[in-house]
Amino acid sequence: MTGKQLITNLRELKNEQPDNDFLKENRELLLTQISNSGGEKIGSFKRFLIAFENLAKASAKPAMSIALFLLVLVTAGVFGASYLESSKPNDSLYIARVLSERMKVNTTFNEEAREKLASKYALSHAEDIVLILSDENFHSEENSEQIARLSQDFKEEISKASEGINNLERNNNQENITSSTSNNNEDRVEISENSSEGNEDGQDVKDEGVMIIAENNKDENGIEIMTTSNEEEEMTEEEVIEMEIAQVEDQLKGTSSEDIIKEITDLFEKDKFDEAKLKLNVLKEILQ
């Protein structure tokens, strides 16, 4: 007989069962014994306590506690991020949101992106404060301290945003300047080439070239003048117009951000929260 056959036959010994009558009688006997000696049906609350106790004991084991910790981390990461973003300044999780935003800003290596992100967050905080203060029910004696604190916070956030936007604009202007000076260098080369070609007039051409270079600054209105070599006279007019348009837009853009910030602050102080919120949205769009 092989091992398999032996095991198969052994498993058939499972058919050896006690009488059903015996099992029933014994069951009744046990029930009586249990009932007489304090056996009881445990309610659902007690069952819950037992379950909690077992879970606590299980979590005391190293492997289980590590697994639970990882699970909490992952869950917190998945749900916490979205929940944190929606937390408001008067929420308990707001601090966590601020910390996480700070961490994101600090880990952004690109300077421009960092300024943008920091300004964006500052505007977002300001918007949240405006939202809370626009609620009429919030304005009560109980919340007077909180209102004062939120007002202070609002000013800080707005100044942060303003600083960030100014830095961004400064950087943009610097880029414009460097790009325009590189254009000027090219013109210088062209002018000098022209002057070298025009030998008959030689000196005059040179002088003209020097004059042109010297005059290649902003005029009274702050508009840059392109080089006016003979060959480029026709093109520069169009280019000048384009440049003028671009510069006006930049100026308008620059002044509008500052103006908007001033307007927002004024509206906030006058408790015109809805309008302040609208202006904040405009600023946000500008940032983007």
Binding site: L6, N9, L13, L23, L31, I42
Partner: protein, 231 residues
């Protein structure tokens, strides 16, 4: 793995509730393990009535321990019942030995139990083995095994306990249990194989004897016929 963990957790939950005298858990545990414990005890003592009596004692004893908060520490309710059952059987042997004033060694190779309640209702004898099925043969040979071997075979192959559960119940290591399973199976197979070989030899002898007898009968018949013809 998760289902295994959930199962473990549920077992712990049931055991905790049992310790707190939860009637519902106790009775459902009886319904679930009652016949299994009865079968375990039956293959240890070999007698149906004794097995029934001892089974009742197991559950009453368990309840008594719960009352006294003196439960043996186990991971599952199943293991708890088995451990109490083993202890009760040991007590039964001790009592029996004191009655018969003979020492019964649990590890003795000569620990043969007379079975009163076999399937055929007869004592094992060479004649009755001829009529038994393979299963009955194995069942009979089970009682020729050492106590440890028999117990482990019943737990592993009849009641389907895992090696881990057997280790917890018997207090042995998992490795030790695996070795015991292998040895006990081998021992039983050797017993059964010897028996079957004996049976085969006997049958061969009988058939040879029959053949010779037939030959003699044929010879006599031929002689008789020849005589008749001559006359």
């Amino acid at each position: 793995m998760p289902s295994g963990l959930i199962k473990k957790y549920k077992e712990k939950q049931a055991l905790s509730r049992l310790k707190r005298k939860d009637k519902e858990v106790f009775i459902s545990a009886y319904d679930k393990y009652g016949s299994e414990i009865n079968r375990f005890i039956y293959y240890k003592v070999g007698k149906r009535e004794e097995a029934n009596d001892l089974t009742s004692q197991v559950f009453l004893k368990t309840w008594e321990h719960i009352q006294n908060k003196s439960l043996i520490k186990t991971n599952t309710i199943r293991a708890l019942f088995y451990r109490i059952a083993r202890n009760i059987v040991i007590d039964y042997y001790r009592q029996k030995s004191s009655e018969t004033s003979e020492e019964i060694s649990l590890d003795s190779d000569d620990n043969h139990i007379d079975i009163e309640d076999m399937a055929s209702g007869e004592n094992s004898s060479i004649d009755s083995i001829d009529r038994k099925s393979e299963r009955e043969l194995i069942e009979s040979k089970l009682y020729f095994l050492k106590e440890d071997y028999r117990e482990i075979i019943v737990m592993r192959f009849v009641n389907d306990l895992s090696p881990d559960e057997i280790a917890e119940i018997s207090g042995k290591s998992k490795g030790n249990v695996r070795v015991l399973i292998h040895r006990s199976l081998k021992a039983l197979r050797d017993l059964v194989s010897d028996e079957m070989k004996e049976k085969e030899d006997r049958l061969n002898k009988e058939s040879e004897a029959d053949t010779e007898k037939n030959k003699e009968n044929d010879k006599e018949d031929d002689k008789g016929k020849n005589k008749k013809n001559n006359s």
